[in-house]
């Protein structure tokens, strides 16, 4: 039924694979590097670090982003921290332990070899960041400080107060700007990739819309990297920024890159609850808060009293109760589900869809100053949004869509099923299995960009014969025409519903039927609803303005059209995966509320192949996963 997906995992023991592979890969000599060009789509952590590193090596790089400046990529919003197996705290951490925690945290649905490599290079990332001027938090002795994150019992998370992503992104951005200054990287901002161009079976370029002028541009290269971020905005309300979209990845998918595990999405346990109909996005409260904050719900059903009115004896510190060994630091999927159970069973804070995150005890223990030093900006953000002071009363939090483990399928070299198309950062599916541990996405994005792609792309060039091509090639003309036609169609519908209203409706379906809990009936219903929504979108959307100049609604229309197609695939993927694992929770498959995996049938990656039209069901392929080091076991945090 299925073509074989070759993960190209190198031989040897787990701790030698990457070292040996690096040695075995072919090199490109310095003089020849100048002759090779690479297009990088996206300049978040993954894209900016890749562009900078490839530029330093001497490749000709063109980097594109939809943002006005690379510094605005959504990596900037990461708050809590970045993991690395430095063991500076001497608390028993090691590369192997980070590897182990990540495989287990991912509920045994990630590739062991990739995860081990990630843990290995994690230590270099911190070195690189510090060397490039990232002001990570320090202790009084001048050495780096660490905090703990969920799913781990060691302190391995490096941070810059509540702005870790901002600081790391500015680091990668400045390294890339240095290459722009040196002329190795050409930067194109406010540009959106709307198609991938494949020539002779290889990725050779992209079609780009200039978001300022509306012009359609063609760019050719010897290889393309997609580092366009995640797709949580399929849920409409998520912690992602407004421009985060699946479009770049989805267009590549439609050109032949398989899309892996689309249903693996992460619902983050600690976000500010929804306030009303007009809400445009949700705000995360970093997981690091669970270091010092205690999560609880009223023990009495239907208790609508404010937190301060509820005596200790009537508070249920449910994470500490159910998971005594990990307590408030249980991993995200587990913590989110428990919050949902409390609310479903009538124990919501103030009778609403929320639970409490309480700092009373740590303020007593550490003093307000210390708590402010650790989390000041998060507390401030909370107060701005809710008008409530978290030093005086507990925060109210609820789970929200946050991160997507699924993404374009890549092999060990981060190459997709289209030769010459590489995928990095949140856009690929690689290292987190069915659930990502906190502080591991920044690590993965930078690992991909700084330390993996520079090697594997060189190897691709050294092994591949690439004909010289130009953008006058038919494949470019054809793709550019198609793109223009799609845009014209959106503008010509002149229907009666706004793009936003479609996006909201899609998000509602996804959250209700393909969110924290999923079941067969709901998913089946969702698929047919989404199919209808797609038809209505293309016949009744209202996109004002014209194709020339800035047209935000036109941009949004394209993104929402892609989200609608993706949404259907997510539901289908969730429907076929008759098990629960990590963030994918099928209500039919559980033991006492905990996920019940089916390793016999589902110890594999599902990778979907586009069949030429949204009306045709996609084909599901499988990559079997083997666990030779961390043995398949039921995940327990009790």
């Amino acid at each position: 039924m299925s073509v074989k997906l070759d993960s190209k995992i190198p031989g040897g023991s787990i701790d030698e694979k990457w070292t040996k592979h690096k040695f075995n890969m072919k090199l490109v000599n310095p003089a020849n590097k100048r002759k090779h060009s690479v297009i990088v789509i996206g300049t978040g952590l993954a894209g900016a670090s890749a562009a900078a590193s490839l530029g330093e090596l001497g490749y000709k790089v063109k980097a594109f982003c939809v943002h006005e400046s690379p510094r605005r990529a959504h990596s900037v919003a990461a708050q809590g921290g970045i993991n690395a197996a430095k063991n500076y705290q001497n608390d028993g951490d090691s590369v192997y332990r980070l590897f182990y925690d990540t495989v287990k945290g991912g509920d045994f649905r990630a590739r062991e070899a990739n995860v081990h490599r990630l843990a290995e290079v994690s230590v270099n990332i911190i070195d690189q960041a510090v060397a490039s001027g990232v002001p990570l938090a320090r202790e009084y002795g001048g050495l780096l400080s660490n905090r703990s994150f969920g799913g781990s019992q060691v302190s391995r998370t490096f941070y810059a107060r509540g702005q870790t992503g901002q600081q790391l992104l500015l680091g990668a951005y400045s390294s890339m700007m240095r290459q722009v200054d040196l002329g190795t990287v050409e930067l194109y901002t406010r540009r959106e990739m709307l198609d991938l161009v494949v020539v002779d079976g290889k990725a050779r370029g992209v079609i780009i819309r200039n978001l300022l002028t509306g012009e359609i541009e063609s760019h050719e290269a010897d290889a393309v990297i997609v580092a366009s971020g995640g797709y949580s905005n399929v849920f409409y309300l998520s912690t992602n920024a407004m421009a985060c979209a699946v479009t770049a990845a989805w267009k590549a998918h439609k050109k032949g890159a398989y899309f892996a595990n689309p249903c693996y999405t992460q619902i983050h346990p600690t976000c500010i609850p929804v306030h009303g109909e007009n809400q445009s996005k949700l705000t995360l409260m970093s997981e690091s808060l669970r270091n010092d904050g205690r999560v609880w719900a009223p023990a009495k059903q239907g208790d609508k009293r404010t937190a301060n009115e509820i005596p200790d004896a009537e508070r249920d510190y449910y994470l500490e109760r159910v998971y005594p060994s990990f307590g408030n630091l249980a991993p995200r999927d587990v913590a989110s589900r428990q919050a949902k159970y409390r609310v479903d069973e009538g124990h919501g804070a103030l009778g609403e869809k929320a639970v409490f995150l309480d700092f009373r005890d740590s303020i007593k223990r550490l003093g307000e100053d210390k708590v402010a030093e650790r989390y000041g900006n998060l507390f401030q953000m909370y107060e701005k949004i809710t008008g409530e002071n978290p030093y005086k009363q507990p925060m109210r939090i609820f789970p929200a869509p946050h991160y997507t483990m699924g993404g374009l399928w890549v092999d060990y070299n981060l190459e997709s099923t289209i030769p010459g198309l590489f995928v990095a950062g949140e856009a690929n599916f690689s290292d987190h299995g069915a659930n990502r541990l906190g502080a591991s996405a920044l690590m993965q994005g930078l690992a991909d960009g700084y330390f993996v792609l520079p090697y594997t792309i060189s190897n691709y060039f050294a092994n591949t014969k690439l004909e010289k091509i130009t953008t006058t090639n038919d494949a470019f003309k054809h793709a550019a025409n198609e793109t223009q036609n799609d845009l014209n169609k959106f503008l010509s519908v002149k229907g009666s519903r706004t793009v936003e209203s479609f996006h909201k409706e899609l998000g509602h379906i996804m959250w209700e039927k393909c969110g924290m809990a999923r079941d067969k009936a709901g998913l089946t219903e969702a698929i047919s609803k989404i199919q209808n929504l797609r038809k209505e979108f293309h016949s009744n959307v209202n996109v004002p303005g014209e194709g020339k100049g800035i047209n935000n609604e036109l941009e949004k229309a394209g993104r929402v059209a892609d989200f609608i197609e993706l949404g259907e695939l997510m539901c289908r993927d969730a429907l076929v995966r008759e098990e629960s694992c990590g963030g994918h929770f099928r209500s039919e498959h559980q033991v006492d509320g905990e996920a019940k995996r089916d390793d016999e049938k589902f110890c594999h990656v599902a990778a979907w192949e586009w069949n030429g039209s949204a009306d045709k069901t996609q084909t599901r392929h499988q990559e079997e996963l083997t666990f030779e080091n961390v043995h398949l076991a039921t995940r327990s945090y009790k």
Binding site: H275, N278, G387, N552
Partner: protein, 264 residues
């Protein structure tokens, strides 16, 4: 909590401008039944939904993260960059700070180095070019030593961090009567000058970045402090003092290099 709070109605006077070449002007809109829990941009979203339904073009404004960190958003509300609330980007400004019946005037940042692109959106790419001119530490990937090999005194690291929290929104420029970019530029210079890693290129960085700042057409700094007062991230004026000192030192050392020269 979220339920049953009284909504408010507002009048908006918004700068509308089709593109860089066209003339702009104010247009009036009503924002009705606004929830006090909504953010300022959510209020504008609702106004825009109504405009689209009427077949009109929505008001364009830059925004992305909507949590005060990406630096995309920013325009003047009644003459204040990012509106009336201190230390707050406009995306984090919530409608509870406004009163029913108020009139709000929304205008883009005004500075010749920030040309208006459309409505409330301006081109801030000058900031990228200032960073490009020297706002980095030249270390290739793979060259780094162990991160704990060079201890950094915590006060220095903390202060460098404070400077580095600048989000590059441009409120400083918009609030300055000379449209100076001194606060933005100096924050990067101070951030790197405080770190041991930034020492090698310290003097050259100050020279290059300030030269680029001038070349972009930003005005001179007259240290009135309007920039820092408007900064949503409270970037301090000390950064500008540091920049001036760095620049002076760099100019002197540079002269010495030129005139001295013959030591060895």
């Amino acid at each position: 909590m979220a339920s049953a709070k009284a909504t408010i109605n507002l009048k908006l006077k918004v700068w509308r401008q089709k593109d860089n070449k066209s003339q702009g002007g104010f247009k009036e809109y009503d924002a009705k039944n606004v929830s006090p829990d909504a953010s300022f941009l959510e209020m504008l979203d609702a106004v825009n939904e109504e405009l689209i339904k009427k077949g009109e073009e929505p008001i364009l404004f830059d925004h992305d993260c909507r949590e005060g960190i990406c630096g995309s958003c920013g325009f003047m509300i009644n003459g204040n960059a990012h509106g009336p609330q201190k230390s707050t980007t406009v995306c984090q400004l919530h409608m509870r700070v406004f009163k029913d019946g108020e009139t709000l005037v929304l205008e883009p940042w005004r500075a010749s180095a920030f040309p208006i692109l459309k409505d409330l959106v301006v081109d801030r790419s000058a900031f990228d070019r200032i960073i490009k001119s020297g706002g980095y530490i030249s270390v290739n990937t793979g060259n780094a030593q162990d991160a704990n090999n060079i201890p950094i005194p915590k006060p220095d690291a903390d202060e460098a961090f404070m400077s580095a929290t600048c989000i590059g929104c441009g409120a400083c420029v918009a609030s300055c009567k000379n449209a100076s970019a001194a606060l933005f530029t100096s924050a990067k210079i101070q951030h790197m000058a405080l770190l041991p890693q930034g020492q090698v290129e310290r003097a050259q960085r100050a020279l290059d970045m300030t030269a680029q700042m001038d070349a972009e057409g930003f005005g001179a700094c007259s240290t009135t402090g309007a920039c820092s007062a408007a900064c949503p991230k409270d970037i301090s004026l000390i950064n500008i003092a540091t920049m001036n000192r760095e620049l002076l030192k760099a100019t002197i050392t540079k002269k010495e290099e030129h005139t001295g020269g013959g030591d060895g």
